[in-house]
Symmetry: C2
Subunit: 527 residues, 2 copies
């Protein structure tokens, strides 16, 4: 068989002793795609780690400007090859070519790479801190080994293991990356790897700055994240897989950043329903159905208070769910995954009020699904009732009253986001004031009157949240420069001679405009 090549230690080559192979699937046609991809074995993974470690050492002596040039060159190449990327990503994921892939995700991806370039060039990200009277200086810097990135299936571009946010942040912070393609879109990842490697060669970074393999047996993933020569890992995907990787990395003392499941509760206060009934229903369905519901920030849980109007709202929403054709799911496993989650929700006491079944249609589809449960039942079994169904499937919790609504918030697990809809003229404000402190510490991003899908790439973004949404509540996967801090260590220089300091910590401001904390003050001046 003729396998697609892997990118290891600066070479495009046949996989050495692959342990298995696989094909990608066109989910719209339910057909295997012709290309065959190798499953890498131990030697290949270890070789990648060793090459990555060498690259990490070499990268320490390379000016940040080269990292910026690399990221920009890569972004330009992505733009120039947009057609090819859109075609293959659409084939592998069934995500619409337009607007989603070409006009949404692709520009978002290149924008993110360019913002990472800007962050690498501006140097502000490293929090250079100088206490001049005592001559102690510190800054964040790259890790002592490559960063392993495991990308998810739902964003073939923006969260791709070799083009997405984790990749951009890890490289901008000065680290090489070992990308493990998502097995749902290996062909897309291959194109990115080709473009990234061409940019590496053009900008003179060490060849093993970017490496890519398609798949490993699960136990090799555990070896990868816990290897002594790995700097850190980033994983976006299921809780089951994420927690296994976390356990392995934790045991080895290796940082790992996970973005796992999240049901993204939306609390809708009564006066908001009164005021903006149709608007909210439409907005919610739009958010639930975006990307066939396969978004990390998909609103999987909506909390309302019992009333006639609420019943009417639920009926309206159920009708919208029923009357819209469900989107094509990313993979053959999609419908079964949603079905299994719906069964768990039902066993825990939820009732299906729309959909609930696999749809026999072109492509893998699951009916737009809405479930409901009362507040008391939710509170008595909160873990099962926070099971994520990765698709357009949401659970409505009908609380008896505000007090119970607040209690629902208090039993929530950690989530990426939480929304509160309230009356625009303040009629719900007393309740908001009581609800907010319950919800706030449980979510990374709190929204008002706005659906959680759509994660802006801005410095203030937090695409993170308390466990089990992620592994640590202090870090974000989106938003530069903060996302770079995941792939960095704090390095202090005590009495180190001036000519031996990294440029970020020398007396002279290296860019003339870099922000540094000098003697307690953020400043752009020289020491």
């Amino acid at each position: 068989m003729n396998f697609q090549k892997v990118l290891i230690a600066g070479k495009w080559r046949e996989s050495q002793n692959p342990v298995d192979h696989f094909n990608a699937v066109d989910p719209a046609k339910k057909q295997k795609l012709p290309e065959i991809y190798p499953v890498s074995g131990t030697n290949e993974v270890v070789e990648a780690i060793e090459a990555g470690k060498k690259a990490a050492v070499e990268l320490r002596n390379i000016p940040r400007e080269n990292f910026a040039l690399f990221l920009e060159s890569f972004a330009d190449r992505i733009d120039a090859n947009a057609d090819e990327l859109v075609v293959i990503a659409n084939l592998e994921t069934a995500l619409p070519k337009e607007p989603r892939l070409r006009n949404g995700e692709l520009p978002r991806t290149t924008d993110q790479l360019r913002k990472a370039a800007k962050a690498a060039r501006e140097l502000n990200w490293c929090h250079a801190t100088i206490d001049s009277p005592i001559n102690i200086r510190s800054k964040m810097g790259p890790l002592d080994g490559p960063v392993a990135v495991f990308g998810p299936n739902n964003f073939p571009f923006a969260f791709n293991s070799i083009a997405g946010g984790d990749f951009a942040a890890a490289v901008a912070a000065g680290n090489p990356v070992i990308a493990k393609a998502n097995t749902g879109h290996p062909g897309t990842t291959l194109v990115f790897a080709r473009l990234a490697f061409d940019a590496v060669v053009e900008t003179g970074l060490p060849p093993a700055t970017v490496q890519m393999l398609y798949r490993t047996p699960p136990e090799l993933g555990l070896q990868l994240v816990s290897h002594p020569d790995i700097g850190a890992s980033a994983f976006t995907g299921s809780k089951t897989a994420g927690l296994k990787l976390k356990a392995a990395a934790d045991k080895a003392g290796k940082p790992i950043y996970l973005e796992m499941s999240s049901v993204n509760p939306v609390f809708i206060l009564p006066r908001a329903v009164e005021e903006r009934f149709d608007e909210i229903a439409t907005e919610l369905f739009g958010s639930c159905a975006l990307g066939a519901g396969q978004f990390c920030t998909n609103p999987g849980l909506m909390i309302l208070q019992k009333s006639d109007l609420t019943e009417q709202f639920i009926r309206t929403l159920a009708e919208i769910f029923d009357n819209n054709r469900p989107g094509v799911l990313l993979s053959p496993q999609g419908p079964d995954g949603i079905g299994a989650a719906v069964e768990i929700l039902k066993s825990a006491g939820a009732e299906v009020i729309a959909g609930g079944n696999t749809v026999e249609d072109e492509g893998y589809r699951f009916a737009n699904t809405l479930l409901r449960v009362d507040g008391k039942t939710f509170i008595s079994n909160p873990l099962a009732l926070q099971t994520e169904a990765f698709g357009t499937a949401s659970l409505i919790v009908v609380a008896d009253d505000f007090r119970q609504m607040k209690e629902v918030a208090s039993v929530m697990e950690g989530n990426l986001t939480g929304c509160i809809y309230s009356h625009t003229q303040g009629k719900d404000d007393t309740d908001y004031t009581i609800l907010e402190p319950e919800l706030r510490p449980k979510v990374g991003r709190l929204l008002n009157d706005k659906v959680p899908t759509g994660v802006a790439v801005v410095s203030s973004m937090n695409h993170g949240g308390p466990y089990p949404a992620t592994g640590h509540p202090g870090f974000t996967a989106v938003g530069l420069p903060a996302s770079m801090l995941r792939f960095a260590a704090l390095y202090c220089y005590d009495n180190v001679r001036p000519n031996r300091l990294p440029i970020e910590l020398q007396d002279k401001n290296p860019t003339g405009s870099m922000w540094r904390l000098i003697d307690g003050e953020w400043t752009q001046r020289d020491v």
Copy 2:
């Protein structure tokens, strides 16, 4: 029996159903002290966690100014009660009253509390980030539960679980603390808890903002750090205990910050020995013997290159070690601990050239101990030869040449500090340039021509380092405001209405001088 009281849920009270009891020991006289302390059981620990969780919720509505006032009031009370603290700490630890306790550690402790107050008041620590066109705003904020602090035995004041750096950072970030006293100095911790609680009452914080118990069975420590209502934990102490706590906390998805063992390598380049033979020998011994060698940053490993002068240097150092009376160790377990470590080093091929034995003398003492090993042996068995001996016991590695010295650096584990001594006029500079990149990523703080003991409380300090010196290379335990980031989560506000924003993120700069990152620029202006 009459047990000393614990401080739980805002009450000084008898321990409920203690599972055991213990006395502190005067290590200078090898005598039990009269006071009896309870070992708390499950119910008491759970009660503390529940009270701490409630306090965490209440603290969210309390202005930062009150936290600052509390920390300052506590510092003032410590100053006013310095005599009592010095007497009892000296009794429990045998650390000299003067200068160590009264003139060194006590002012350091109050300075740290006052710096934490300043950081809480200035608000800069929270990295307020605002993107005004899109109205997304974020900042770091307190965790969703109390912080458990496990203090070490070697700094009864500055790292005390209820007065030290972790306590100050956790409270300044807005969290309640559950302090687990170090069992070496329960009486000192009791005095601190009394002063802290008086300050809590005075400044109107929730009573359970500070809680204190003396000891728990080990399995209860694991429950404490992994309890669903705990925000995070901080531990300073042995690697054995630290790794057990880490495993429990990791499994529960709870952040834990550990400061564990570190041998703090000191590389001495040949021309530095030629140039400053006596100065370096004296300085090194001073650092090795400080606090009877029981410092986290104690230089436990020195690396030199083979030469006649090196032999002479080693003989001189061995003489100094032999000719100085060893200090009194902190606990009855001290001599055995050092002895066991020395045995491991010997089994791995090291040779004792000074000391090596317990000293029968007033107080618990172990002879000042120096061992040596050749570079080849070190490189062949680096883990065993990096065993920390917690006392004045250091291993000298004699490398054949510079190449081997560099290889020694390359096999080092993560450490808090690493020093390089080199010729002041640059004669070692070529070697420095090659050695530094090997050593740099393995240590939190890199020093030039300076011993690692003495950890300045300044913003640029890093008292942290790669695993296994700590559990995460991105955080520091000393240095405000950075140390506060350990006890914080990132909270983002997306489209949240202006009157609902925390003051740090409102348009108006809350202090008039707080530094915020607004639209990409660090500024003190309003939005």
